[in-house]
């Protein structure tokens, strides 16, 4: 029982991270029907942005007050990269056949990884991530279950970001614009909505959440490297599809489900096919199964919520 609860905690922590990244895929897909394959790299850039901010401005400080600055640095880096990406790589291809942006995305992804590896000092190997007081440190024990402080930070981040995003999409004018574009871009344009701007905002929103995820990842694992974006991006995309791509709540649910499945698969699948070396296979296998029986994803049916 303890094992089950502990793995649930592990899974939810991991899942929250996936969910934060998955939102980026889903928001962009909801607006322009584009799989921004390079979104995983936006997440990676966020982590490096936070590290750079800390190294340059607060090197050696581990007090809690630097955390907001690190998050800001992460967000700044991610959003800049995401907007540049949209402007120079995707926008010119908006009416091209859909293969073109996908291949561009692969190109952007490779380019960003290599750029960080080559030009960020020391990034050729793993870099230690600063351990900030309060959000890291000795774990919290609830009964027999250990909860990492960074895990709490991740889950709380997801809750806060999710709530803010919900408010933004459903209660602001811009959010209404987004929903309008997602439902019918042409009509939205006729109604006076600046579609280009909405698209940029979609990319930026995804980037903000990915940046927060980047910081969370750094705090959780105490290190980052230039390759973290690939697998995380792939998993997050899986999560987005799992939940129903284009559906915000779906991305969150999909992320959490995926994280829990991975953790439980490690623990409870017996024999040779269990353990960590098979958990990714089960996770991707789940994706295929869901697509077969419920192609629209777990929550995919709520088209109205697609922004």
């Amino acid at each position: 029982m303890t094992d089950l609860l502990q793995q649930l905690v592990n899974g939810l922590t991991l899942g929250s991270l996936y969910a934060l990244i998955a939102v980026g895929y889903t928001v962009v897909y909801g607006i322009v029907q584009l799989i921004n394959f390079a979104h995983g790299e936006v997440f990676m850039i966020g982590a490096f942005g936070a590290l750079a901010t800390w190294t340059v401005l607060f090197n050696g400080t581990t007090s809690l007050w630097v955390l907001p600055f690190m998050i800001l640095g992460a967000v700044a880096a991610s959003v800049t990269v995401a907007i540049l990406m949209e402007r120079f790589a995707y926008r010119p291809l908006r009416h091209a056949p859909r293969l073109a942006p996908l291949i561009t995305a692969i190109g952007v992804s490779v380019f960003l990884q290599e750029a960080v590896r080559l030009f960020y000092p020391g990034a050729k190997s793993k870099l230690p991530f600063p351990q900030i007081e309060v959000v890291t440190g000795p774990a919290v024990h609830i009964g027999d279950i250990t909860v990492q402080r960074a895990a709490v930070f991740t889950v709380v981040s997801l809750a806060v970001c999710g709530a803010l995003l919900w408010y933004f999409v459903n209660r602001t004018k811009l959010g209404r614009g987004m929903r309008a574009v997602s439902q019918d871009p042409d009509t939205a344009r006729l109604m006076g909505i600046n579609v280009n701007r909405i698209i940029v905002i979609a990319f930026a929103i995804g980037a903000v959440l990915a940046a927060v995820a980047g910081v969370a990842q750094g705090l959780q694992n105490s290190n980052i490297d230039f390759r973290i974006g690939f697998l995380a991006g792939l998993k997050a995309f899986t999560a987005a599809v799992l939940g129903g791509i284009g559906n915000l709540l779906g991305a969150v649910v999909g992320g959490l489900v995926l994280g829990v499945v991975e953790a439980l698969a490690t623990q409870f699948i017996p024999g040779q096919f269990g353990g960590s070396s098979w958990k990714d296979i089960w996770a991707f296998g789940l994706l295929i199964i869901v697509l077969v029986f419920r192609p629209q994803g777990l929550l995919g049916a709520q088209v109205v919520d697609r922004a």
Binding site: T13, L14, R117, K124, N221, S277
Partner: protein, 408 residues
Amino acid sequence: MPQRSVVAVGASLLVASLALAGCGTRDDSGSDSTGSGASQNKVAKIGVIAPLSGNLSALGKGIQHSVELAVKQANESGAIPGWTLEVAAVDDEGKPDVGKNGATQLAGDDDVVGVVGNLNSSVTQQTQPVFATAKITQISPANTGPTLTMGAEPTTAPKRQYPSFFRTCTTDLVQGKFAAKFLKDEGITNVATIHDKKTYGQGLVAAFTKNFEEMGGKIVAAETISADDDNFNAAITKVKPSNPEVVYFGGEYPQGGPLSQQMKAAGLNVPLMGGDGIFDPTFIELATKSSEGDLATSVGAPVDSSEAGKKFLADYEAAGFAEPSAAYGGYSYDAANAIINALKVSLKDASDAKSARDATITEVGKVSFPGVTGQVEFDEFGDTKVKVITGYKVQDGKWATVKTETVS
């Protein structure tokens, strides 16, 4: 009219450039590279094939520079009269296909007589046959997989795979055995193993497990992690209830460091022990303070413990290479010197480098000299005879030597 003016401009520019090129000093070294003293010497090349770009480049560059150092010293001391040695470095990017092309390229160069490399076993598997066909000596400074020398059944029916392949580092079998004995001597009986499901990590854990169980120890849990992962909590949670006294980790420091840190953060407060893959300062950096008390084994006596080792490190420093010698510098230096020592015999009467290839393989098999990592000598499989392993422990944020022993 315009035509003529163009010609005029062209002509005057031509004159001006002639005049410009006329004055100033010329670079003389390039124009007669085969001039004076050097021209009497014949050229033989020692190849380096290692990841010189990509995420393993730090290790690869260390290998390259160490070989360069050995070759430079050999040339300066005139180790092989009548011959000048050169280094031909080729990048394998840590990828099998690229490595194979690089090996073919080296094999096609008639001046190449010996090669130091590769770093990754999966690459070596593809370069071995290429060098074997071309009869070029290949000495790996880093491949620890037993099958590379001893074939499919290294423990039960060892059979040499390629006569041209040697290595200066020991195999997983030796290191795993030492680690098992080390823990047993400390009175530890319950150990959990975790490996990264790569050739090196899995081989190390297999060797450890076998020896540890033979000595009466108990493997209470066996888990794997993925080298692509960063979050190992699921695996840690699975290992934790078995209450191990030590976690034996097969893998490299990029995963080992974070694993140690996450293990202790999750409340599994026991030392992590690993092989030479985690014996690196970066391990401590990545594992932060929680690495205190973690253990590692590494092949040979510590490089800086012997006179030869200290001299190597000092020379390396003095040569001013851009990258540090890294984990495999000493082995690469020894590998290069093994080839050089063999060349002393094989090149003596050779008319050209290519014809000396076959003899070099035989001679490398016979070398015996004191190297940086111990006495350099190869057994009938091409493995080093040095079976000296050192155990290290993290103390005050540094690797400290615990003991050095010869594994029988």
